[in-house]
Amino acid sequence: MRNTDWRNSFWLRVAFAQTLVSLLLATLLFIGLYAGSSHFARHQLREEIATESMALAAEALGQGRSAIEQDIQLRLVHGGWYAMRDSQGGLLAGDARITPVPAGWHEQAMPFDGRSERERAEHGLLILSTMLTDGSHLFVGRDTHSIHELHELFSRLFGWTLLATLLLATLGGLLLGRIVQRRTQALRETTQAVGAGDLTRRVQRGTRRDEFDNIEANLNDMLDRVGHLMGRLREVSLDIAHDLRTPMSRLRQRLEAARATCADAEPMAITLDAAIADLDAQLATFAALLRIARIEDGSARGHFQRESLSALTQRIAEIYVPVADDSRRTIAIRIDAEVDVLGDRDLLTQLLVNLVENAIQHTPQSSHILVALSRADDGSPTLRIEDNGEGIPVEQRERVLLPRVRLDSSRGKGGSGLGLALVKAVADLHGAVLRLEDAQPGLRVSVRFVPA
């Protein structure tokens, strides 16, 4: 993953938020549950105490004090806390450790003897004091330990649940993140490739028809549309280039016919020759444009043959040694034998010629040019044309590979501006990688072919 800062990662933020929300929910749920059950337990306890008290009070009313004293002794055996005191506070029956309190509900510390501090804290006594008709008090109590135990159980459970929630939520968040990451991977890759200029890339569509699939479908539709429009634009430009050739050819024929009627030295002849030369330059540009389009359509791959790139490179380099010599530049040749490629001989010739001519034309006098052919470590035939001229600044390297139509030849150093674009088209056709590099000083053009 590229974003190490979690704040920059959408899915990590989602995972974090999800964990927080889950923890909050678990806490709320627990608080509710705890409050409910604790209330219920206390209610139950009071109910029990109240029932006991009422039964004993009814007994006292009906059968007299001695019967109830016996009953209290009996109930004490079964557990629980009971006591009865007369109106002066004297113990009539039951447990003397119960502190006498006025009528109503009371909570007291558990009257233990010699128990640990911790145990003392865990127990308590809930007392209902009832005043009977003769002014005596009946005390019925229960140990609140069960409520305390419920508390303890809940806090233990709460801890575990929080831990489990934290784990599950984190896991879920990570999982969700991974899913989002995976689902957006194709989108990311495709948009990146398209951004880099490959308009033919499409997203591999999922089959779920969910939101992601929708976005993918929309993106593909959008790319189709863009591609279609660009294709149309190209078609139109090519159609124009193609259609203009016929009237331009006729114009050329008329100019030539007119030229044939004048003698060489006449001013008219000079004008007509210049007009024909201009027209030829434009026709050459159109021809080069159409040629690039033809190369780009890939149909030439159909008749690729095994060609000796060594022999071809050697031949072209040798042809240009005297040309370079005449323009005061030198060509050094360093070519490995028996380097073959699968390709179109004419187009490979054009690629070599364009690169060598480019080196001759765009370097200052007395520059050195190297034409080298070798095999890379992985066996790919690699052609290098190097010079020690001015080179091309990094920011312009990509631009010089794009077709730039220069119909007005006075604006540039001559040429249609399509030379390197043609080289790029030929390299692409052959699946070769074209690179412009800094030869320090100068330009190094390398073409790395696929091994034949």
Binding site: H242, R245, T246, M248, S249, R250, R252, Q253, R254, E256, A257, A260, D264, D273, I276, L283, A284, A287, L290, R291, R294, S299, A300, H303, E318, I319, Y320, P322, V323, D326, S327, D344, R345, D346, L347, T349, Q350, V353, E357, I360, Q361, G414, G415, G419
Partner: protein, 225 residues
């Protein structure tokens, strides 16, 4: 010469026909493939100039039909684009040479003349001669006035092509295609450079120049002045 033009573009056909007639040739024009094929089989012509794109029957089919009928009439094919594929298709169909539109008339004329007078294919020469220049194709040697001239392989090839077309005009494009196998227009003066080097070796020290530059047309190797 009697020349047949099979071309549906009337403007081009007229221009080529008129220009050829001015040079003293007899020219017939057919504007579709079927009519063209019919006239080509009459046996009256020395060469046919055939456009590749034709109504009724395209140029390739015309040439194929001619060759199928064992008709050896030299054919120069005209096309809109000079891509490898088109060129190879044209030559495979049986055309003898190939010219992309638009072209200069001098280019067309040079190619027509080179084709029409091409010696029969069966004759295999081992020595080419022009005046006091002699080329031995087996030994790969060249002598001028009895003295050996040392040529590099590429120079030998260039001279051989000029010798085979002695006294005829060869255009820059013809040299590029046949000597260097460049089926496109290079930006530098490749042809001029090599011609001037060859000229230095062949003509230097001799009173008569053999390699001539014809401005706006091309080059010519001439036996006599």
């Amino acid at each position: 010469m009697r020349i047949l033009i099979i071309e549906d573009d009337v403007t081009t056909a007229d221009w080529v026909a008129r220009s050829l007639r001015e040079r003293g040739h007899v020219v017939d024009v057919a504007t579709d493939g079927r009519e063209g094929l019919y006239r080509a089989t009459s046996g009256e012509h020395d060469i046919a100039i055939v456009d590749r794109m034709l109504p009724a029957m395209d140029g390739l089919a015309v040439v194929r039909a001619l060759r199928a009928a064992s008709n050896a009439l030299p054919v120069l094919m005209l096309t809109a684009l000079a891509e490898t594929q088109e060129r190879v298709e044209g030559l495979n169909a049986g055309a003898d040479d190939y010219l992309a539109k638009p072209f200069a008339f001098s280019e067309l004329e040079a190619r027509v003349l080179a084709l029409a007078r091409r010696p029969p294919l069966a004759r295999v020469e081992t020595v080419l001669r022009a005046g006091d220049l002699e080329m031995d194709l087996v030994r790969r040697t060249v002598h001028r006035a009895g003295k050996e001239v040392l040529l590099q392989a590429r120079e030998f090839q260039l001279l051989e092509y000029l010798l085979r077309n002695v006294d005829r005009v060869v255009t820059r494009t013809m040299l590029l295609e046949h000597v260097w196998e460049f089926h496109f227009d290079p930006k530098t003066s490749v042809v001029e450079t090599h011609i001037s080097r060859l000229r230095a070796k062949i003509d230097r020290g001799h009173s008569t120049e053999m390699i001539h530059t014809l401005r706006g047309m091309g080059y010519s190797l001439r036996a006599q002045h």
